[in-house]
Amino acid sequence: MRGEASVIDQIKDFASWFFVSGDPLIYGADVAIALTTAAIIFVLSYFGKWGWLWREWLTTVDHKRVGIMYIIAALLMLFRGGVDALMMRTQLVFPDMKFLSPEHYNEVFTTHGVIMILFMAMPLMFGLFNIAVPLQLGARDVAFPFLNSLSFWLFFFGAMLFNMSFVIGGSPNGGWLSYPPLSELTGSPGVGEDFYIWGIQVSGIGSLMTGINFIVTIVKMRAPGMTWSRVPIFTWSVLSSCIAIIVAFPVLTVTLALLFLDRFLGAHFFTMDGGGNAMMYVNLIWMWGHPEVYIVVLPAFGIYSEVVATFSKKRLFGYGSMVFAMLSISIMAYFTWLHHFFTMGSGANVNIFFAISTMIIAIPTGVKIFNWLFTMFRGRISFTTPMMWTLAFIPCFVVGGMTGVMLSVAPADFQFHNSYFLIAHFHQVLIGGVAFGYFAGLYYWWPKMFGFKLNETIGKWAFWIWNIGFYVCFMPQYVVGLDGMTRRINSYGWDTGWWAMNFTSTIGGFLMGIGFLFQVWQIAHSIKFMEKDTTGDPWGARTLEWSIPSPAPLYNFATTPLVTDRDDWWEEKERIAAGKMPKEKPKLEPIHMPKNSPIPFIQSICWFTVGFGLVFHWLWIAIPGFVGIALTLLAHSFNYDTDYYIPVDEIRQTEAKAGRGV
């Protein structure tokens, strides 16, 4: 009997260690996760949709579907990251409230930061890459469709692994960049940090592959006639972002691997003892981290450029300087990383170098702002939602850029460093620059993805609420930052005089939350009351993706377009309007397409298994995962039957259904 009881006790002990317990918020989450999972399983079984899910989505290699999956996942993560943010803001309203304990607060700002940047901004960006780039190029697909699907699933399972830490094992709490010695075993003995390492590592490998994939796609798969000076500007921005990705992400991979070796094998890369050097971690992580912010903002610049040109009915002003500015940013981004730790004693000369390089990088950005303004000048502007977000971005980014230059002045930075001034600055560029840009992109390409526009009225409500909320939330943070409030604190004294500003800021935070709800409503409403777009070109836009039906057929272009101009589709419409003959189209031919494959999905589950096993140091789980990865790699290598042809008849039928004769 005694033996039995102790087994039960052991199980209890194990469960209370394995499952995070003791917090009503987390029990709530447990219940929510269980209910959602049950509901999904029930709905899929009830409607007999498992096969559909598997065939049409989980195994798809179609870039448009991969893009949609990225976007859905990113919006879910935006929700979770947003809830984290509101929890923090709630705690900060009343400094003596015990809503979030200091430890819990640490976990929340860590997961919020990671999720927003790596699991919200990155996938939203990749989603838009996938939706728009092949279509803008006049291509049938990305260069490596199989790899593309693998990238997505790696991101997805990496994100799941990271998110799991919330209910199993415990969340990381060392900040979104996990500086040692805090992130070493001595500072974080639990598994949270390992969840951080493996969640990011797995999804990071996916990001790296996406970078490679899109570079090859853009360099090699442009439609005939699309010379470099005719490449759409969004595609240029993707290229510059991907160049930054392939240089930055290997550094991240190594950095996380070294941190893991420290924790797992007792190596001494960054430890305080054994000769390790914690500052090296800070250097390495920012060699990735700084380019990373440009990685996410460059595509946003590309979107703004497309949107401004489309809705001003004018050619983008200063195309060449725009391209040059973006490429030079993607290169200069590597010479500024040290501005993130001016205060850590690198010496005056080093600080001066990085202060100056940081100020210089503001110049190409300024060039771009003027280009957008000149594009609008004397244009026929229509104030659609994508255009509204673009217009709101410009002043926001000017202010954010200016506070950035303030931060880049090394002596002044000693004052602002780690204060709310910094928090206000980076949220201004990340929300006002990146998130607004992706929203604009999402609205802009939505009809291309789904064949209907999102409701403009609700969209404008969402827009105004978000924007007002944004300023109400972050402007007070500049003030309170200058007033000495440091970041990453869950409490402060009443005598500091910070309360009023924090209170205002929280109201703004909740306003943004309401803005997000309006966006959700907007999507739901538009699905219910959609008006099908039959033109394929609802905005009267300029680039090739608008020359085909919406949503784009599986093969994108029935016949490969021959490009003769920049903004080729616009010029073609002008020619037709002027009574000239449309461009001659070649004869239909069977189209060569990649076959779906379950391997990316399965292999990513194996990566997840490896990550999970290593988080808990359970080799009996990790090793089968490794074996699975090896087997799937081999299975793919031995598979020579990866493509098929769509016959001409089928193309003709599809096109006819979309209202196009060929």
């Binding site: 994939n213 070796l261 007792g266 190596a267 390790g276 070649p586 020579y640």
Partner: protein, 204 residues
């Protein structure tokens, strides 16, 4: 005008065909190599920052034995040469020659890895582990990552030999041979840096 268009499309004809796909994959592989190069550069940088932090333990001079490493280097350089011979045999259309040289390449690679593992085991046996000092952490990680790459290459070429015996020399297998060969030369080049920076500079 119409004529020009048709001409462009005729030229485009191969765009969807296998030939271009193989070209794409080669190009993609080169970009992958750039990322791998950055990965190694980061490890080299780490090693260089840490290589004097021995935490009171032995430094490079005390533990490296150059003769063994020179033999290793020689073996790897030879394997690079034989992988080149494999490509030449393939270009000459000789499946036998191709597979033969690939097998020689693998065997050389395997003995390289074998020697490295022996070296590691010996160090560990003497009590010099990844845990001993930052210098050794950097050393094991940098050299080990290279060794892991070579091992991966061995598995890859083995799988390729099986495919060659099934399909013969086709456009697809040809591309795969080319890519593995580039990969192999790349590892060779990285090793030259490991040899110079870690071992030669270590014992100097």
């Amino acid at each position: 005008m119409a004529h020009a268009n048709n001409h462009a499309f005729a030229h485009e004809g191969g765009h969807d065909g296998h030939h271009d796909l193989e070209e794409l994959r080669k190009f993609g592989f080169w970009i992958f190599l750039i990322t791998d190069l950055i990965l190694f550069s980061t490890l080299f940088a780490t090693y260089l920052v840490l290589h004097e932090n021995t935490a009171g333990g032995p430094d490079a001079k005390e533990i490296f034995e150059l003769p063994g490493v020179i033999v290793e280097t020689f073996i790897l350089l030879t394997s690079s040469f034989t992988s080149g011979l494999a490509v030449l045999a393939m270009n000459a259309g000789s499946q036998k020659g191709l597979v033969g040289w690939l097998i020689v390449t693998i065997l050389l690679g395997a003995s390289f890895v074998g020697m490295e593992v022996t070296e590691f085991l010996k160090l560990i046996h003497e009590g010099h582990t990844i845990h001993s000092s930052a210098f050794l952490s950097g050393f094991f990680t940098l050299v080990g990552t290279h060794g892991l790459h070579v091992s991966l290459g061995i598995c890859w070429i083995t799988a390729l030999i099986v495919q060659l015996s099934r399909h013969g020399i086709t456009e697809v297998t040809q591309r795969k041979v080319h890519i593995t060969s580039v990969y192999w030369h790349f590892l060779d080049a990285v090793w030259i840096f490991v040899f110079t920076i870690v071992y030669l500079m270590g014992v100097m």
